[in-house]
């Protein structure tokens, strides 16, 4: 038995060594969206790979799952429309910046990958921005909203969503002007996205003379009865800038259970017509309700088949992937696409329409020109109604 184990161990080591040795040359992915057996794409001359960095496993796998599904959809649709042969390579970051660094280096070391979708979290962008800049590779995020990301530290960074500096004050002012609370509870979920928004909103509330109770729960917590019990009759508004819609739904249920009359005001993470339907709530989002955009009807049908309970994190990733697909197709026209030609093509993106219901064009900082901010109200049937957008 023992000599066999030695033989086996040596063989395994040789296997791994062989695998590692071949990694620098051929780490193409099996996670392709082609479902036909031997690759039935029409034109073989525009072959490229795109990486996607998302929290595919980990505490917020629900978000990464959605983003991945939409990215796969985008690549499949664009391959069919443009006759390209683009494959998607997954990179699981678990929303952790150190893993994002590892995955980014993996993508940079893979010469086939020309651009990257993601990462999802603002802190991840901060960690990997310099790496992408050094490699001259573009990366487009569908959910990183921290304001300072486009201040110059990340020259190859683009985003298809608006920034916290727009969303935070807009939400806060809406609450002050339309809901007139005397006191409110604002709860962050201990992620950078949430604490950033909370940090922007609290001073605005305090300046308007509203008493603010700042609470904090981790995303793993699913019961909020203790927090809800603390809500006094004067607190008529609860601001929840969370990432997980299901938690907000539970918060609303706890409110109903304890007969508290509180209006929930949430941000992007709560936007999920199938997961968060507490009547009377307001949800602001950096992405539109694609079910309400007539031009997106076929996409919505496709999305419902792939990921029935999608919210707000999927469509912007679809848009980001689409931007990269188009840039690659554009770069292919003048020969073999390279990272720099794709970067240039992304900078020059000028899509008159998109899944987001608006044209896509980037300014010199990498922000989306005319990025809109949407506010929805949930009516008594649990349906989302657009209140305002700007």
């Amino acid at each position: 038995m023992k000599p066999r184990i030695t033989v086996a161990a040596l063989a395994l080591a040789a296997l791994i060594a062989a695998g590692c040795g071949s990694s620098s040359s051929s780490s193409s992915s099996g996670g392709s969206t082609k479902s036909a057996s031997t690759g039935s794409s029409s034109s073989k001359n525009c072959t490229a790979s795109i990486g996607i960095e998302a929290p595919i496993t980990g505490q917020v796998a629900v978000l990464g799952d959605e983003q991945l599904a939409f990215a796969k959809m985008a690549v499949a649709n664009d391959n069919k429309a443009n006759g390209t042969n683009i494959t998607l390579v997954q990179g699981d970051t678990q929303l952790t910046p150190s893993l994002a660094t590892t995955v980014t280096q993996q993508f940079i070391s893979n010469p086939k990958i020309l651009a990257v979708v993601g990462p999802a979290g603002s802190q991840e962008v901060e960690a990997v921005g310099p790496l992408f800049a050094r490699a001259g590779m573009a990366f487009v995020s569908g959910s990183a909203t921290k304001t300072t990301l486009t201040d110059g530290a990340n020259p190859t960074f683009f985003r298809v969503v608006s920034r916290d500096s727009v969303q935070g004050p807009e939400d806060a002012n809406f609450v002050i002007n339309h809901l007139h609370p005397k006191a409110l509870m604002i709860i962050d979920d201990q992620e950078a996205y949430s604490t950033g928004l909370v940090g922007v909103m609290i001073p605005i509330f305090q300046k308007a003379g509203i008493r603010v109770d700042h609470e904090s729960v981790s995303q793993k917590v699913t019961d909020f009865s203790s927090l809800v019990a603390k809500i006094t009759p004067q607190m008529t508004v609860a601001v929840l800038p969370w990432q997980v819609a299901a938690n907000a739904e539970q918060f609303g249920k706890n409110l109903q259970e304890q007969h508290k009359n509180v209006t929930i005001v949430g941000t992007d993470g709560l936007y999920s017509p199938s997961s968060f339907t507490i009547p009377g709530s307001y949800v602001s989002s950096f992405g539109p309700d694609i079910t309400a955009i007539p031009a997106d009807a076929s996409l919505v049908a496709q999305a419902k088949a792939a990921f029935p309970k999608f919210g707000t994190f999927g469509p912007p990733v679809y848009a980001a992937t689409h931007v990269i697909d188009e840039a690659i197709a554009q770069a292919c026209k003048s020969g073999t696409p390279t990272r720099s030609s794709v970067l240039a093509a992304i900078r020059a993106t000028d899509e008159p329409s998109s899944i987001l219901g608006q044209p896509i064009k980037f300014d010199s900082h990498g922000d989306l020109v005319g990025a809109k901010w949407f506010l929805f109200h949930i009516n008594s049937q649990g349906k989302y109604q657009l209140v305002t957008n700007s």
Binding site: G64, D65, T222, A246, Q258
Partner: protein
Amino acid sequence: MRLFIQELVNGLTQGSVYALIALGYSMVYGILKLLNFAHGDLYMVGAFVGYFVIQWFGGANHLAVPVPVLLLVMFLLAGGGVGALGVVIERFAYRPLRNAPRIAPLITALGVSFFLENTALLFFGGSYRIYNTSSFISFSTGIHIGVLNVDIVRIMVIVLSVALMIALQLIVHRTRLGRQMRAVAADREAAEMLGIDVDFTIAATFFLGSALAGISGVMAGLVYNSVWNYMGFTAGLYAFTAAVVGGIGSISGAVLGGLLIGLAQSFITGYVSSLYTDLIVFGILIAVMLVRPSGLLGRVQLQKV
């Protein structure tokens, strides 16, 4: 006053769920001295089983059977199914390591935990599954006297936990199987020499412990509505904490530990601030451990030479 009572109820509910998970954990721990990291994931499997039972009967909004039948089927299937899963895991992952140093099954348990969590992710995706309990058990059923607003689901959770704890105490102290369990926990070799079927006893312990985890998973789903594949991770950690703080191998200790954690969390969130809840709870638990080094109800370990 209203806040106090509400927090008390919240704490008891939360604590009861922790206590149930800790019960199963403590049983296995007492008999095998095994830190079963996969226990929280059994809880998750139970919660998923309950969810699929609801879907099988038509979904939360269109139930085809009366609610008591639904609940009965959920508890039985979750308890039995997860119990069986626990026995299978014990047979294939832990039995070969029964005589190995304690640290080896720790890693096997971790492996089982990774396996279960990510298999669930593979099968069911990352989306949260929602029980939507309020659709078939409305909030108006329950106790609503004056300032007290207690939903019937919470009452059921607390009552069921107490009932299960009493049942478990009876099993362990009054039945032959319980005697065998205590014997194996005290000295496995001696028990074997006395003719006790150790394999069967350990398998039975795993069955009971895992069934409890499964049932607590269903209860958590009913009260907290959200079910997703990583929910077992934190639950397992709390179960371990409650079991140790209450005293290793002591069933009532595990329950006490669970209730203590639940109540502490509840009251600190209510009266201080949720920002510092975790830190203060840790502080309290450290203080408890320093004051009572063998846990709240644990027996002082005799050091054998």
